[in-house]
């Protein structure tokens, strides 16, 4: 019975257990179901979010790869693009053949293949893939923008990223920017426009286009000397500016500076006196070391700072002064020297170091290894007055490459890239040809001004148009009807581009030469006749005089050489004899006189200069060329030394060294360079200083107000070569400067594969969702 009772109780307990178990089971089920539902929602959500982010990152990686490919090869395209005018849309059109420049990288699981079958570039990164397309937008050049050829600068890039079934896409428009073709001055360090000397009243003028300083920009008058106050000096003025851009730092104006901005669509022309920066230059700034202070360090007080402008000028500067917040940081990399060398070796002109044997004099402290000289090859392309020494191969491809230093001057006969693994000394007028069939261009490009060389920032419109006409020149650049006055000259140095003012015979040849003809004629005919015949464009060029008395003629020539010596008495006598013998007549024709002056007299001066350039008497230069230069100045300037009103009907031009081209250098700053409105800044230049006299480089032939150095084109400094030795001594005295943008640059010889170094800026960006099907079909 007990057993039954026990079993009855057990049965009852079993019944409860079932109920309890069922209840607990139910509760557990509910809890597990809730947790499962919640967790799976969270997990799914996290996975989706993660994939979305990854896919977007992959699409962005595609954009970056596209821009890298374009940076390495600006002719890179995967497709052509057509414009759907009705929908105002861009559509992908034909596939084009392409090759990659970016190498695969197993370390990062990165590889790219053209396996999409649609012509898109495809790559894998981690557990995802990306594809992208690149195409040039078929747009016409906008004639309103002087600095940009719009037909070659807009690209569409679409990229898709995919992780599993999650797809994202990015569509953007990118602008290709050519520093050498778009910027008047482009500096990957701090762009400093502080030129001149203390106590001077001259003005340096910078005209047209864009200025860019990657780490900042400073513009100002000379106020300090080695960071101590000095007499205020040379000022800077900016004209026809499009924009002043800084990639990373601020844009500093040290004094009120007049800047003329050009009109742009929707933006009228503005002339603004930009007030001094609200972050002044610290007079006793903080530098990491005295050495750093001397060599260009930006004081801590202004480093990385971005000045703001008062509201009164802010609106006018909008879109024109672009600092680091404007997303315009450009980093174009470095020239491809290996490729350029190969091009020079195959159809170009290659100059190995062993052929660079001329010992080119330099000042102390310039080169620690070669003492008072550097070894260089001289490339004198010649000009309208003298013949050069450069022989180019037949079917020349336009590339000249030297393993060592180059000295260049004269007018290249075609588009050319002149490249040096070391430095390039630009030692005279460069790349400004003259059409000798036109009387006004008989000796040179007509360097005429509306007022004069000092007061006008640029040539007269008539003269400027001669250079603009070069864009429509025919296949034959020497065709008198469509004469090409300058070519696309790319001058690229792995170290420095040095402007070399030492030689008046190279810097001012076209200015001195007609004056020399006049000076000699003055000995033979009355001065007024000499002036009319030799200096006026309409002049006959003849010597109308009785020269049958040879002895008398010889005396007259000797008298000329007393005033303008060759520093070679024998040669002077030979020339006097030759002249009196040749022209034993009543009249010398224009052609005969020109022949003698050019082939005999001027040639003698050029040859004499090689050995006698340092000759002095009574402390002044003795060689006739220097004296001719002095007298030329006296003729075209008033008593105070200021140039008179320029005349377009004569051959008298203010002494000007003119260098036309894209000058690109890679060296970092290695010379004395005090930041701020400071005179103690040395640029890469040589000539006309006391240091040059004592070093045997050349004499002081002009002071700052007596000559102009005109850079017509652009200057680019990549600052990628950081191994340059310091220059520890002075090497030049500054000229008055004109840096003018050449508006033909955007179009002159700019093929897709021209090798121009480019940087790319994203203009528009769109994030979009995508589907696996879209990815497959992309």
């Amino acid at each position: 019975m007990n057993g039954h009772v026990i079993s009855g109780c057990a049965a009852r307990r079993r019944g409860s257990a079932i109920l309890i178990a069922l209840g607990l089971g139910f509760v557990l089920l509910v809890v597990i179901a809730s947790l499962q539902s919640f967790s799976s929602y969270r997990i799914q959500n996290s996975i989706m979010e993660n994939r979305n982010l990854k896919a977007l990152a992959l699409a962005e990686a595609g954009i970056s790869f596209a821009m890298t490919e374009l940076g390495l090869d600006s002719s890179f395209r995967t497709h052509t693009i057509k414009i759907d005018a009705a929908k105002k849309e861009l559509a992908w059109d034909q596939q084009v053949d392409w090759q990659t420049s970016v190498a695969n990288d197993a370390d990062f699981s990165f590889s790219q293949q053209n396996t999409s079958g649609k012509g898109s570039y495809q790559g894998t990164l981690g557990d995802g893939q990306f594809r992208f397309r690149v195409g040039l937008i078929p747009y016409e050049d906008d004639p309103r923008s002087k600095n940009i050829d719009e037909s070659k600068c807009y690209f569409k890039i679409d990229a898709m990223g995919r992780v599993g079934d999650t797809t994202r896409s990015v569509s953007c428009i990118v602008q290709r920017r050519f520093p050498g073709r778009e910027f008047l001055m482009f500096d990957m360090e701090f762009l400093s426009i502080v030129y001149g000397e203390p106590g001077e009243t001259n003005i340096n003028k910078f005209s047209t286009g864009n200025l860019y300083g990657h780490k900042g920009v400073e513009i100002g008058q000379i106020l300090l000397d080695a960071h101590s106050p000095t007499t205020p000096g040379t000022k800077q003025e900016l004209f026809d500016m499009h924009s002043i851009i800084s990639g990373a730092g601020g844009i500093f104006f040290w004094q009120p500076t007049k800047v003329e901005f050009r009109a742009r669509p929707g933006m009228p022309a503005e002339t603004v006196t930009i007030p001094p920066s609200n972050i002044p230059f610290p007079s006793h700034g903080t530098y990491s070391s005295p050495e750093a202070e001397r060599y260009g360090e930006v004081p801590a007080e202004i480093a990385g700072k971005v000045p703001t402008f008062p509201d009164s000028v802010k609106e006018k500067l909008k879109g024109r002064i672009l600092d680091k917040n404007a997303m315009v940081s450009l980093s174009p990399g470095t020239p491809k020297f290996a490729d350029l060398m190969m091009q020079a070796q195959n159809g170009g002109k290659y100059i190995p170091a062993a052929e660079c044997t001329t010992q080119y004099k330099i000042t102390p402290g310039w080169n620690p290894n070669d003492g008072d000289h550097v070894k260089a090859a001289i490339l004198d392309f010649g000009n309208g007055i003298h013949k050069g020494n450069v022989t180019l191969p037949s079917n020349f491809n336009g590339v000249i490459f030297s393993d060592s230093n180059l000295v260049i001057k004269g007018n290249p006969p075609r588009d050319v890239k002149i490249v040096s693994k070391k430095s390039i000394f630009v030692a005279g007028d460069f790349n400004q040809r003259n059409n000798k069939t036109r009387k006004e261009e008989r000796y040179s490009f007509p360097q005429n001004y509306d007022v004069n060389a000092m007061d006008s920032e640029d040539y007269s419109t008539t003269a400027k148009n001669l250079l603009l006409d070069d864009l429509s020149a025919g296949a034959n650049p020497d065709d008198p009807a469509k004469f090409k006055h300058h070519f696309a000259a790319n001058v690229i140095a792995n170290e420095r581009i040095v402007y070399d003012y030492r030689s008046p015979i190279d810097c001012f040849e076209n200015e001195i030469y007609p004056y020399m003809k006049f000076a000699l004629a003055k000995e033979l005919i009355p001065e007024s006749d000499a002036e009319t015949n030799m200096l006026n464009i309409s002049g006959s060029g003849e010597i109308d005089a009785d020269l049958t008395d040879k002895a008398a003629t010889k005396n007259k020539i000797a008298s000329y050489f007393e005033k303008f010596p060759l520093c070679d008495e024998n040669r002077e006598k030979e020339l006097a004899t030759e002249f009196s013998d040749t022209f034993n007549t009543n009249k010398i024709t224009d052609a005969d006189y020109e022949k003698f002056c050019n082939e005999k007299l001027w040639d003698a001066y050029r040859k004499s200069y090689e050995t006698n350039y340092l000759e002095r008497e009574a402390g002044k230069p003795k060689l006739g060329v220097y004296k001719l230069l002095t007298q030329l100045r006296a003729k075209i300037c008033d008593a105070s030394g200021k140039p008179k009103q320029d005349k377009a009907d004569d051959y008298l031009h203010f002494p000007e060294m003119t260098t036309n081209g894209i000058f690109q250098s890679c060296g970092v700053r290695s010379n004395l360079f005090y930041m701020g409105p400071d005179y103690s800044k040395r640029y890469d230049e040589m000539g006309r200083s006391l240091a040059c006299v004592s070093a045997g480089v050349g004499l002081q032939h002009s002071d700052m107000k007596e000559m102009i150095h005109r850079v017509y084109g652009s200057e680019v400094r990549y600052a990628t070569n950081k191994t340059l030795p310091r220059i520890t001594g002075p090497s030049y005295a500054p000229p008055t400067r004109r840096k003018l943008y050449d508006p033909t640059l955007p179009s002159l010889d700019i093929g897709d594969g021209s090798g121009d170094i480019a940087a790319f800026v994203i203009l528009t960006w769109k994030d979009l969702r995508g589907s696996p099907a879209e990815y497959t079909n992309f």
Binding site: Y139, Q175, G266, V761
Partner: protein
């Protein structure tokens, strides 16, 4: 032997035990459910904020330039003290749309091949009488024509989110950080169910991708 049946007391005891058990189970279930709801609500709040952030960051990423001074600069320490109701707490930027179907030769002197849209995000108190939030986030748009002139007639304004407890914009001023110069957004949103104990705070940074038209 006659089997003894279940008496009333036993049944009542079973019912009582079952009732107690069910009550306990109910409370356990109900508590879990509430907790799950609260977590879901917080998550939903978080999702709402995330969606808002996605919207704003997508918008900003597509912009070409942010107007000077908007938003104000702030270091990380300064950013903690930024207030939603500060009148400087807004961001204005331009998005540029190019039209390459316009040929340059056909453009007027002052005509561009692009138009612009100025987008402004700003906050207003839901109840102007209150000292603080909640706040309403507005997205205002002002188109510019292809002469770079404003088109006020096409100005538009719409609410992006209501009930925000905090939203501040600032441009990060930390020169040593990689995100220096980025636009940062910090927002807080309280849950909006019956139980609003849960809220969510998000911070993000974003950089405009485009560039100012040249």
């Amino acid at each position: 032997m006659r089997r003894r049946g279940t008496n009333l007391i036993e049944i009542m005891m079973a019912v009582i035990i079952l009732a107690l058990l069910m009550t306990a189970l109910y409370y356990t279930y109900s508590g879990s459910r509430k907790q799950a709801q609260a977590v879901m609500q917080a998550h939903q709040t978080n999702d709402e904020l995330q969606r808002l952030f996605d919207r704003i960051t997508d918008d900003l990423r597509e912009s070409n330039f942010v107007l000077d001074g908007t938003p104000p600069k702030a270091s990380m320490a300064q950013a903690k003290n930024l207030k939603t109701e500060d009148p400087a707490n807004y961001i204005s930027f331009h998005k540029v749309t190019y039209d390459f179907s316009l040929e340059p030769k056909n453009l007027a002197t002052d005509q561009c091949n692009y138009t612009q849209l100025r987008v402004t995000y700003k906050l207003e108190k839901a109840d102007p009488g209150q000292a603080t939030g909640p706040y309403i986030l507005w997205r205002e748009t002002l188109p510019f024509d292809d002469r770079r002139q404003q088109v006020p007639a096409q100005r538009a304004r719409k609410v992006l989110m209501e009930g925000l407890d905090e939203l501040v914009f600032y441009r990060l001023d930390e020169p040593n950080l990689p995100t220096n110069g980025s636009v940062c957004i910090r927002a807080r949103l309280a849950g909006r169910g019956k139980d609003s104990r849960y809220d969510s705070t998000l911070v993000t940074s974003i950089k405009e991708r485009g560039a100012e038209p040249q």
